[in-house]
């Protein structure tokens, strides 16, 4: 029933004309977290099946190491199981909370291992900064294609220099000072570009339901 509602719901006023039904998706996510708090394994499996593919992509993108990424995702989901009360519905969506945990752990792991950082930099030198042009993969994640298209649309709308600092910071795990060093920019410029870009993203994503 929940799936049917998800697929039937559209919001025509959203940017890029993308039908997004993630409001109900988040309602379902919240229900899953509530059930996890009651110790329901099936709910935990539900949340894992829904978000592990994206969590793994994020952890792998930041850490650039498959085994480490799997460990990061494992730890993040275990944190959900052990402390579902850590989710505060007043502070955002389940998906953002979960990806925040994955991202923090991935960034921490990368910064702990300088040798890993060097490998990442070598890899990055051979890759373009923008990494969002891969062909979609088929995954069983309800609503994910729409969400992905919407977020990519928001990033595409950013001026190149704002998008660059945001991607280096978020997807490559670089600190603001490292980015300034790498791009040869004053630190203040990196900060201001980040803020301007994040304001635009916030505005664009405000059109999306949770």
């Amino acid at each position: 029933m929940a799936e049917a509602l998800l697929l039937d719901t559209t919001h025509s006023s959203l940017p890029w004309g993308i039908p997004v039904a993630v409001d109900l998706a988040d309602a379902r996510d919240r229900e899953l977290v509530e059930r996890i708090a009651r110790g329901e394994e099936e709910a935990f499996r539900g949340l894992f099946g829904r978000y592990a593919p994206t969590a793994l992509a994020l952890a792998r993108r930041v850490s650039r190491q498959s085994s480490l990424a799997e460990e990061i995702v494992q730890e993040a989901f275990l944190a959900v199981w052990r402390n579902p009360a850590g989710f505060d519905r007043e502070r955002g969506s389940v998906k953002a909370w979960l990806m925040g945990m994955v991202h923090h752990r991935a960034v921490d792991a990368v910064r702990r291992e300088e040798s890993q950082r060097r490998r990442a930099e070598e890899s990055r030198r051979s890759d373009p900064v923008v990494i969002l042009d891969h062909a979609d993969q088929v995954v069983e994640a309800v609503g994910a294609p729409q969400e992905r298209e919407a977020v990519r649309g928001a990033l595409d709308e950013l001026p190149k220099e704002q998008r660059q600092v945001i991607e280096l910071m978020y997807f490559d795990g670089l600190s603001q000072s490292k980015i300034a060093e790498r791009l040869g920019l004053p630190l203040g410029t990196v900060k201001s570009r980040t803020l301007l870009g994040m304001r635009r993203l916030r505005s664009a994503m405000a059109g999306l339901e949770r």
Binding site: K95, Q176, M205
Partner: protein
Amino acid sequence: MRDHERIEERIAVRALGGLDVVDAEALIAEMAAHGPSCEECRRLETEYDEVAGRLAFALDPEPVPEWMEDHVVSLATGSGEPLRVMSPRDQRRARRGPGGVRLRPLVAMAASIVLFVGGLAIGSIVTGGDRNEIPADARVVAFQGEPGSGTLSAAYTPGEPGVYVLGADLPTPPEGQVYEIWMIEGETPTPGPCVSPEADGSLVAYVDAELGATDVMAVTVEPGTCSTAPTTTPIFVAELTTA
């Protein structure tokens, strides 16, 4: 009307994981000046954390290995072994074998353990071995904390990596927040695990860290998503010496 421009700038960078320590400290000071009831600060944190969390969905999802779901579920329900990248520390621990203290019974015993600090040999409390064990020759050091905030101790073996943190009578963190454990060498804090005590206030956590000649451990209250740098004043502090 308070000026939130600089706070907003730092919150936005922090949400992306890019805040340097200096700016993290500055953000703490600024937000402290605004006070915990600053609704604008809270709104900015919420909105930028949401934006950052959603950026993950710009990536193509990756196929999850078939074994992974069952493995994570088995860990969650207590019947599995954690997946870990085998570092030299893990290999040493795996070789160590039986002879230490199991974590699970230790949870119930944490309250009594933390009453005795300073070179306490705890190997005789419970025997039997698996990877979740505290070595029999562990040194136990008490954290300093505010009266009435429970007790916390660190158990570690000088010369060996890793620290177990044992707590009792700990208050539950505010809703949406967790305790985050930090290893501080010099002036650089390295984040450890984010944890919450059990319903009875007990806590057992493992910090995967290489100990220097002297390290300071600290515990702060952080958002449930954990922080890359401390955002609040430590509520517990302990000095670990390996000499």
